[in-house]
């Protein structure tokens, strides 16, 4: 049984409102930090906790905060990344809808540590449509948790909710800042990093919703307590949103370090697959490499794979994958990997901001080639062509969206090349969009670990 640090009260009646939240220990971290701690002491606890960014990259949060430049007379900002558009990821929405004050509490405590008097929640437009996200900050303000001289500590803080308008790229932190400044979401060239030159050219920390929420238990119970959960550099709990062909889709808070087998097969989490066999897994959002089910359970060297940043990446891209955002989805054997890869490629082509030609053109090419493969119009040279195109994108772009577009294609070819070949050999069969539903594709085991 994993510990519940973020979800302890997720099902408690009334937890969505300020009163219910407060009655269950809410805003304690603000009281503790503002009344009994210095900003440096809060930062120290976050460092000790080993918390890593939950948005996808897994960068150590305390370290990121410590890079924040502090020139005299220049404001600093905290920007919470609630853009959550990585396919497969729905944990931030879950957290914000069920226990919205936790994010606000985390933002006040974190901003205190950074000396930021204004923070923004950049929320994707589609979520903002939903009224749930628009009342909690007003509630918190009315109760004195926001505004001037909070708890008589002399610390002032304001939160603004900023709405996006449908652009995956605005989840990339510098594109997000551009968007927040009222512009197109074109990523900026780094350096300078946001910690030095971020929002309005001021020092800025951009953190994911879950990262900031995790600051609450870290400050309440101490960084060392938090670091006791997990293994090595994967400390604490992580929210995983599970979807695809699992029996029990949903958002789960796991202790980092449980086995992948437990996560996908035990009834506490995904509960296995319904009716059929598992074929493949994307464990961290569509940008991370897809791997065959067997390689998800066990690494290439035969060890049990664990739900940690390190273990999921074990074997590099040849046989491993990544933790990513925790947007987990699994494929059963009725699914076609070529179809799914085409779907992924269409996504990245649609979402490329268009600044770099390898990404803008390459994603379009990949979509086109995959479309014809999946629709029974593939050519014998297409697989090699695809491989070439994805290689020319990776590493040659301003932001990581280019890599994120290349990896799903590369990993699909690496592990499921025979399925691509099948599409070229049997164009008539694959014209039926459900070609593997009646007759699952029998994989050549040679490719599983190649």
């Amino acid at each position: 049984m994993s510990r519940k640090l973020l979800f302890e009260h997720i099902a408690t009646p009334g937890i969505r409102g300020l009163e219910g939240y407060r009655a269950n220990g809410g805003y304690r971290s603000v009281e503790k930090a503002l009344r009994t701690m210095s900003p440096e002491a809060v930062l120290e606890e976050v460092k000790k906790s080993g918390l890593r960014g939950r948005g996808g990259a897994g960068f150590p949060t305390g370290l990121k905060w410590s890079f924040l430049a502090k020139p005299e007379g220049v404001p600093r900002y905290l920007v919470v990344n609630a853009d959550e558009s990585e396919p497969g990821t729905f944990k931030d929405r879950y957290l914000m809808e069920r226990i919205p004050h936790m994010l606000i509490e985390g933002m006040i405590t974190s901003s205190f540590a950074m000396g930021a008097h204004t923070s923004y929640i950049y929320i994707r437009g589609e979520y903002f449509c939903r009224p749930d996200h628009r009342t909690s900050d007003a509630e918190a303000r009315a109760a004195g948790w926001l505004g001037k001289n909070i708890l008589g500590s002399g610390f002032d803080h304001e939160i603004h909710v900023q709405v996006g308008a449908g652009a995956y790229i605005c989840g990339e932190e510098t594109a997000l800042l551009e968007s927040l400044e009222g512009k197109r979401g074109n990523p900026r060239i780094k350096p300078p990093f946001p910690a030095v030159m971020g929002l309005y050219n001021c020092p800025t920390v951009v953190n994911n919703v879950e990262t900031i929420a995790a600051v609450v238990p870290i400050v309440n119970d101490g960084g060392e307590e938090y670091a006791k959960i997990g293994i090595g550099k994967s400390a604490g709990t992580k929210l995983i949103s599970a979807g695809g062909n699992v029996k029990r889709p949903g958002v789960y808070e796991i202790d980092l370090g449980i086995t992948c087998d437990e996560f996908i097969n035990s009834d506490e989490y995904c509960g296995g697959v319904e009716g059929r066999a598992f074929k493949a897994v994307v464990p961290g959002g569509s940008s991370v490499p897809i791997i065959p089910y067997e390689l998800f359970l066990k690494t290439a060297t035969g060890e049990s794979r664990l739900m940690t940043y390190e273990s999921l990446a074990d074997g590099g891209f040849a046989t491993g994958t990544m933790m990513g955002s925790g947007g987990f989805y699994a494929y059963n054997d009725a699914q076609c990997i070529v179809r799914s890869t085409w779907n992924h490629a269409r996504f990245y082509s649609h979402e490329s901001c268009g600044q770099c030609s390898p990404c803008r053109e390459g994603t379009g090419w990949m979509e086109k080639i995959l479309h014809r493969l999946e629709h029974g119009e593939g050519r014998s040279e297409d697989i090699d062509l695809l491989w070439d195109v994805q290689r020319k994108i990776e590493g040659n772009t301003i932001c990581p969206l280019g890599d994120a577009a290349a990896w799903p294609v590369a990993s699909a070819i690496r592990h499921f090349r025979d399925e691509f070949e099948y599409h070229i050999r049997f164009p008539q069969k694959v014209k039926d969009p459900k070609h593997f539903e009646k007759e699952p594709f029998a994989r050549n085991p040679k490719f599983a670990t190649a």
């Binding site: 497969g88 437009g125 947007g327």
Partner: protein, 185 residues
């Protein structure tokens, strides 16, 4: 969205546009909440307001009104409006059905749902029904993959859809015959 900036509609934009009093006040309040000289940050929120006041899409007149209120060049408004996929640059139906088509939804049957809706409504994704009631849009992951397949209409998420429940939804929307948008509570 996106690499390929979408064209704006110039011909159908001749209908005049003016913000309501209430919306204008909201725009002013939004612009005031940013630091000195940074009111351009309010552009996306204000475009949402303009869109909801213009039958769900942004005509040139609506965008020009935004530029006027915010003291921006017209082009600054067009380039932003054309970048973000939630801004409709052509007239839309009373209801915009945003159906998620991304891989996790596909694994749970969104292809079938989209095919069914296209057939039932007699339009392709991106088109509006002749009676002006529905615009069908294929959109990317809406963060609801665990309850897939799903679609968004105005403020509402309609999840775990089946062919039957999707039909029932269409019928209910048709009977109500009234737009919802993000300003509805």
């Amino acid at each position: 969205m996106s690499a390929r900036t979408r064209p704006i509609t110039t011909t159908a934009g001749t209908r005049p546009f003016a913000f309501s009093e209430a919306a204008l006040a909201e725009c002013k309040a939004l612009m005031a909440r940013y630091p000195e000289g940074r009111s351009k940050s309010a552009l996306i929120p204000i475009l949402h307001i303009a869109q909801s006041e213009n039958d769900g899409w942004l005509s040139v007149n609506a965008m020009d009104a935004v530029a006027h209120v915010m003291g921006l060049q017209h082009i600054e408004v067009y380039e932003v409006a054309s970048f973000y996929s939630m801004f409709n640059l052509h007239p839309v139906g009373t209801y915009v059905l945003d159906v998620c088509r991304t891989a996790p939804c596909m694994l749970r049957g969104s292809d079938d749902l989209i095919a069914h809706l296209e057939k039932k409504l007699g339009v392709h994704c991106g088109e509006t029904t002749k009676d002006g009631m529905f615009t069908l849009k294929g959109v990317e992951c809406l963060g609801s993959c665990g309850t897939a397949p799903m679609l968004q209409c105005g403020a509402g998420y309609h999840e775990k859809l089946t062919i039957e429940s999707a039909d029932a939804l269409i019928d209910a929307l048709r009977a109500r015959n009234q737009r919802t948008n993000y300003t509805d509570q």
